[in-house]
């Protein structure tokens, strides 16, 4: 999967989706278009009900759009999942409690093995060690803290070398201090394994810290209100939080979110 491919990354075009029974359908996504280049980290932020999770699930192939197209590396989502090109990190770690950490991370290799050919599969042991989980390989998920469990889930998504990584508020269940450590760890790892990342979050600082671009979505119906560039230099460290640029960006994103929420009540 070369970075030079013209179609590399995620291309969402004019996607609409409604839910509910015939006659009482609610529009959840209204003509949403978004492209995530190979190696680009894009966060999606917005109030509850703005359809950000629905958008992520559409890219993951878990939900079919009513109209519009989603392409991953120039393929339909269906073809992309068949080739195991999409790594998903769900909101909860969703590990199998009866398998060791190592066997949980091996799972993506075991499943749909046809798609294992011609790809750069990672060594599960190595990836877990680089995530600071070298001592936990033979432990069971129930013996790990929430933060460690979530890191195992991220390792599980990286291990089979997908081209796109989808993360649905992966750190939302952690406490603030733990969350910072997890963000930096993720950033560190992604720095040397550039995937196209779509990262759904509720947290403004988290979005700025991690992303190249922040997509602010509004609700009723879900739409993209604004796309904000984050020109902060990489690699980023914890010091970024203290810079003026960070604070300006934070102000900008919050302002946009306020506008989006205001529209809703108007």
């Amino acid at each position: 999967m070369e970075t030079a491919q013209p179609h590399a990354g995620v291309h969402i075009e004019n996607v609409s989706k409604s839910f509910g029974p015939e006659g009482a359908r609610t529009l959840v996504l209204n003509h949403v278009s978004l492209s995530i280049k190979m190696g680009e980290f894009v966060s999606v932020i917005g109030p509850s009900g703005c359809g950000k999770s629905t958008l992520l699930k559409t890219v993951a192939g878990l939900i079919d759009a009513d109209s519009g197209t989603v392409m991953v590396d120039g393929m339909t989502v269906k073809a992309a999942t068949k080739n195991k090109m999409i790594g998903l990190v769900p909101q909860s770690p969703a590990l199998l409690p009866w398998r060791t950490v190592l066997d949980n991370v091996r799972l993506p290799m075991r499943v749909n093995p046809k798609a294992n050919a011609n790809r750069n599969l990672r060594d599960p042991r190595e990836i877990l060690e680089s995530f600071g989980l070298g001592a936990a390989l033979d432990k069971y998920p129930g013996q790990l803290s929430g933060g460690m469990q979530q890191r195992v889930a991220i390792a599980r998504a990286f291990v089979f070398d997908p081209s796109v990584l989808l993360m649905d508020e992966p750190f939302s269940a952690l406490d603030e201090m733990n969350r910072d450590a997890q963000r930096l760890g993720l950033l560190d790892f992604w720095q040397s394994n550039r995937k196209a990342v779509m990262f759904v979050t509720h947290s403004v600082p988290e979005a700025i810290m991690l992303s190249d671009r922040i997509v602010v979505m509004g609700a009723h119906p879900g739409h993209i209100a604004e796309v904000i560039d984050v020109p902060l230099p990489r690699p980023r460290t914890i010091d970024v939080y203290a810079t003026d640029e960070f604070r300006d960006l934070e102000g900008h994103v919050r302002e946009t979110l306020r506008e989006v929420m205001g529209q809703k009540s108007a």
């Binding site: 993951a60 878990l62 999409i86 998903l88 769900p90 075991r110 499943v111 600071g132 469990q149 089979f160």
Partner: protein, 285 residues
């Protein structure tokens, strides 16, 4: 990960390591279970119940036997009781295992093919609301006084709780783990193999806890209506009761009860080995 980060992780992993399957923690728990405050209350209850029984039995010699009468009968006719217990045990073993396997397999079919649930479940419900006590004599007419009707009755009573519990277990998968499997384009078989099968085990064991005592009920009921040559503890109860032989009646009842206790204890042991991951804190959900 940066160095500072890793050191923080080391601390974290040291504190969160709560031990493995058979850790010192587990043996500490075992010792705690042996403490007298844990077992003494139950023992006291049993002693009081036995004393009340004995007093009642002495006051009403034609209603219930005394415990020592039952004990004497058990020792004196140990061979007869043993032979009858083997018969009932065989009925329970064969009947229950076929009912358990059939229930689990049908649950898998229903979980994988919804149309099968819609097609077969109503029939299953109709059979299950029919009182087993009423079915048993009819089965004897159909299959004679041999073991067959006893196997069938025992399997029937076990089947339903197994089916319903297994079906619930196979359906109750972690939705998010399922999402991960779907983005990997996992086949139905792979989802069953890696997610549903083991995931259903807590429900399967809950079903077994209901089903195994029922298996003894099934075997005993089948023997009541079809004593036959092969006897069994159930027929021993009916025959002895008809002769007003109180010690034999109650000795047989006690042995049926003992079989149930053994089954449930074995189940608890197996459950501990198989389901160690499902006890305690919610994992990954």
């Amino acid at each position: 990960m940066s160095t500072t980060d890793t050191s923080a992780l080391a601390v974290q992993s040291a504190t969160s390591a709560t031990g493995r399957r058979f850790s010192p923690l587990a043996s500490a728990k075992f010792k705690q279970n042996l403490r007298w405050t844990n077992w003494a209350p139950a023992v006291i209850t049993f002693v009081i119940a036995a004393a009340l029984w004995q007093i009642t039995a002495i006051a009403n010699p034609y209603v219930i036997p005394t415990i020592d009468q039952v004990w004497v009968s058990l020792i004196k006719d140990a061979d007869t009781y043993w032979a009858n217990m083997l018969v009932t045990g065989l009925e329970v073993l064969v009947g229950a295992s076929s009912g358990i396997i059939a229930g689990f397999i049908l649950a898998i079919i229903m979980a994988e093919f919804q149309v099968m649930e819609r097609a077969v479940m109503p029939l299953v419900v109709v059979v299950m609301v029919t009182p087993i006590v009423a079915i048993a004599p009819a089965l004897v007419v159909a299959f004679g006084f041999g073991m067959t009707p006893k196997f069938i009755v025992t399997a029937l009573v076990v089947f339903f709780p197994m089916l319903v519990n297994s079906l619930a277990g196979l359906r109750d998968v972690d939705d998010r783990a399922l999402d991960v499997m779907k983005t990997l384009h996992a086949s139905r078989w792979e989802i069953f193999r890696d997610l549903r099968f083991t995931g259903s085990m807590p429900y399967v064991f809950a079903g077994l806890r209901i089903a195994l005592p029922l298996a003894i009920v099934g075997a005993a009921v089948a023997e009541f209506v079809a004593a036959g040559q092969q006897a069994g503890l159930g027929s021993l109860v009916t025959i002895a009761a008809a002769q007003a032989n109180l010690p034999v009646t109650w000795a047989s009842i006690a042995l049926l009860c003992f079989m149930g206790v053994v089954l449930i204890s074995l189940l608890a042991l197996v459950r501990k080995r198989v389901l160690w991951w499902s006890d305690g804190a919610a994992v990954g959900r």
